[in-house]
Symmetry: C3
Subunit: 129 residues, 3 copies
């Protein structure tokens, strides 16, 4: 199972909760699984779970990561996108979410975000039951 | 499977290793599982695994996160707890721990910590076999 | 399933992708599994997934973590390695990677790195199918 994401900005958190649920809905065996592992097969993007109610939260997270890992610094990597790689390490490449009867068991305020750190790009997220 | 945690401080790392093991002990099927996914359904709390021997380690981790993500800064989110959301991103919402015969297979010095970043609050942790 | 790693430097990212795949190849049941959980049973080491093509990327990640978490600061923990514990929290103790027919399904540029933050030491990584 896989979903495709086309990011439109250089740094962008895309709420993919509904798309993951829609993908799960296609697979009857999801109803018997206790959890779903979500994996990002990229090195300049990550995955995280955080508030999906107020978009200012995501804006604050993006700003905070930019402060912690400035885009311009004395990096060695000649492609110039080392900050994106470092942010991917800080957010992580996988999360595991509980399932019940095929439904994601997130907290009230939680959404699952694909974290683009070097877009815009065509991206993918893999789902493992 | 779920455990409840009542945090008592604004920022607090609660060692929940024994409570998770006690919960596992109630479920015979845990004996056949190879791993346990642990999930935090909150957006201002995280989960991490680190030293449980010297409490100064956890104190140092809390202080370091406070320095990296100051409570007061020019955040947009009007609830005033953006730092807690950002720390939750840095620590993460899930970990997966090996099991053998229903027992958590942690390293000698490891404990599983619920990370409260905006307490005190009533919290939950979900366990997925 | 477990692999041993002997780190040779104080701070070192060791690409263990091939060793994990070699271990998986010994277990026929890996062919039926949809994912692999990888767990580090240490408190001063972590695990992350990032670029394995240009070693400068890993060098930049190491440097960035050193800047975020300086080795010398006013830490309480008397062993003097609090920075290693904090970096372990930031990178994390577990990742979950998709499998298909017993093969790790990583992205083109991804490698799985054991992150030594207080070496050289004898270390282990646990694999859970």
């Amino acid at each position: 199972m896989e979903i495709s994401i086309e990011t439109t900005q250089h740094t962008q958190f895309v709420d993919i909760t509904d798309r993951i649920q829609a993908e799960l809905d296609k697979f009857p065996k999801a109803k018997n699984a206790s959890s779903l592992a979500i994996f990002v097969p990229h090195t300049t993007a990550g995955i995280t779970i955080n508030e999906h109610a107020d978009p200012d939260v995501v804006a604050d997270i993006i700003t905070a990561l930019d402060k912690l890992v400035p885009w311009r610094a004395s990096y060695r990597h000649t492609e110039g996108n080392s900050a994106a790689h470092i942010k991917a390490v800080l957010t992580g490449s996988s999360v595991t979410v509980p399932l019940r009867d095929g439904r994601l068991q997130l907290g009230t305020w939680q959404g699952i975000y694909f974290c683009e750190f070097d877009g815009p790009r065509q991206r993918r997220v893999r789902l493992c039951l």
